[in-house]
Symmetry: C2
Subunit: 436 residues, 2 copies
Amino acid sequence: MALSAPERLTFAELDQRADAACSAMLANTSIQVGQRVGLRAPNGVGYVVAVHALMRLGAVLVPISTRLSAAEVDWLLADAQVAHVLDEDQLQRLVGAPRATPRMRSFDLDAPHSVIYTSGTTGRPKGAVLTYDNHWSNALASMLNLGVQADDVWLACLPLFHVGGLAILLRSVIYGMPVVLHERFDAELVNAAIDHAGVSIVSVVSTMLERMLSARRDRPYPASLRCVLLGGGPAPLPLLERALAAGAPVMQTYGLTETASQVATLSPEDARRKIGSAGKPLFGTQVRIADDGEILVRGPVVSPAYLHHEPRGEWFSTGDLGYVDGEGYLYVHDRREDLIVTGGENVYPAEVEAVLLAHSSVAEAAVFGVPDAEWGQTVAAAIALRGPLNVEELRVFCRARLAGFKVPRRLVVLEALPRNAAGKILRRELRAAFST
Amino acid sequence: MALSAPERLTFAELDQRADAACSAMLANTSIQVGQRVGLRAPNGVGYVVAVHALMRLGAVLVPISTRLSAAEVDWLLADAQVAHVLDEDQLQRLVGAPRATPRMRSFDLDAPHSVIYTSGTTGRPKGAVLTYDNHWSNALASMLNLGVQADDVWLACLPLFHVGGLAILLRSVIYGMPVVLHERFDAELVNAAIDHAGVSIVSVVSTMLERMLSARRDRPYPASLRCVLLGGGPAPLPLLERALAAGAPVMQTYGLTETASQVATLSPEDARRKIGSAGKPLFGTQVRIADDGEILVRGPVVSPAYLHHEPRGEWFSTGDLGYVDGEGYLYVHDRREDLIVTGGENVYPAEVEAVLLAHSSVAEAAVFGVPDAEWGQTVAAAIALRGPLNVEELRVFCRARLAGFKVPRRLVVLEALPRNAAGKILRRELRAAFST
């Protein structure tokens, strides 16, 4: 792979570049304070500079996924009523402007910082308004959980248009902590950055972690790696154990766009003892489980509203199902919409997926419900393989570990499972494929 | 010295004891939410438990200095309109109560947490109302400056009835960080705790630091000591240099009761390069120098009001004089009321004190103005000695380093200088003694 030489910026240089980009935007656009500006660009220094320039301009950042189709982008721009869109070409043209005093030098915590569209695994995306306080409170609460050490370096290999990527940029300037930014996820490059660039914390989702471990054949990570923050949904226990065995101190986190990233995160001390849990709510955040099992969240990290929707109530309904154990640790099952009800019995896809993934031939697994005339829904599974599979043998394997109604009745084998940019499996697509 | 065995509490035990003490107070008193409760006790576990029990009771803590006279205490209790006073005997009686659900399990950041009377080096003390947000914001901002490491242990040897001591207790439960608590300052015990008990951070004032260094004859401190947080007013440069030479990473801080402790603190990276400075304002706090040189402060750490006074304006006037250098670092001179004006010239006591302290025979020095018919004020000095002194030789020493109008005209030699419980020199007493 051909690599361009990495670009390095000190905080002072970032400060200068952000001021200059702000001046250029003031000179060339008529963006007013409080107006929304779309940002559609790949991970890179230009993106980071733009995030800070928009803050100094008093504009509200609307990150746009680079994976959206033109029609989807058009819909989003209209929905967000953006005053302007910055793309990669425009970011280039902001470089080289003379530095000037920016419009904003301090920020009202209650002002909107960004509008981030939820990844939309179901229905139309909704724009979650995130205030400065939401991001600020999340950065500080994360710090109270993970600590901040003088030699910390956080690796960002998630897309910056996702809240998990953006949050790393904001923590960086709040903590005064270097960030290593990758254009896209590449397991070899992530491993190299951990081995040779002093990366102490990395944010990933399960698939990324699996690829990182496979790429190095589980060769141990150095002690300087003190946290692998694992988000993007419940992770299979065998993967967690495999990571810990390879010296990757994996800490599951439960986060949402609507909470400026982390809601709960396992702490370093609990990584082994509470494996499988997403940990305790971060300081200042409260989690409650509704009677139907839905996870509710309250606290300074929670978005005040979606665009064009009423402000939220006291508790934010996450749409995720889970429980809290006797010591206050959160375990996340599934999206409520992913819950399968078959013949009146509840089936949690994650439970069935964990069993499928425990089989040595199964690399990826997604379990979902498909309509069934007799049972209402029936359990279906899509899997990707790492070795030859005898389907009947897999069924016996599942039957030995699961109640009969939980064993998948329908099975499809794919090259790889469809995922969104955040690495989440697109169950909706799988369901749709099965239902037609 | 006879020492009782140290008492150790885990966070879980502190939690239980605080709940139990809260239950006992609910059963035995009629303290209502929002009422003020005096706490007059020496440093100890009972004090720590009471601080948390009062929070869970919804009461507002009013710490009372153990050094006040009965008449002063009476005045303060009346001024604060306290509903109840807890003394050492009563703290004893709170032990052993059964644990029960406390009244308050979460806290409104805008609610008052404590009313702390300013040490009152001039005039009547005033009760500064400190909200939960003031303390919370200070703890987080301190964390952003100093970082929090997994093995941090903070030594509290300041009185807990001062904001500097109380702040350590609150940081402890916010960070999940052990505190070593000493009943009173003892240089040998502080040194022993640093050498043998893993203390990584200690809060002291200049006199304490001087005694710590002298007690170990400047023998180097271990690398585990990562921060000596030095408050209580401007420190003499020779002491700072001596501390750094002994491996004590001293970081000057500028703090006030009215700001829940730190306003600005030198960061570890700047300890040597910016020696003599109190550093940059903590994140979220803004410092401005008024036209007359007074330091003004704004931000979430600033008390909303003194009891029985109007709420403060946008900027809090500290009464201290200082300046900010080109890189944004704060240097604190003196209290404005300590500024000496002689024949129209301004004399900063700290500048003259620094020269006196640079003389090998001078252990302590305080410089202040006394009324003078000809010049308005004239410069006077009180000193304590560490060796024999030729007064004329000291005058020549000063004259070589200071403009003539700054050289003390009157000099008194004392055994030791009068100080308040926080270690601050009581210039008012010295001035009064000279003026009569």
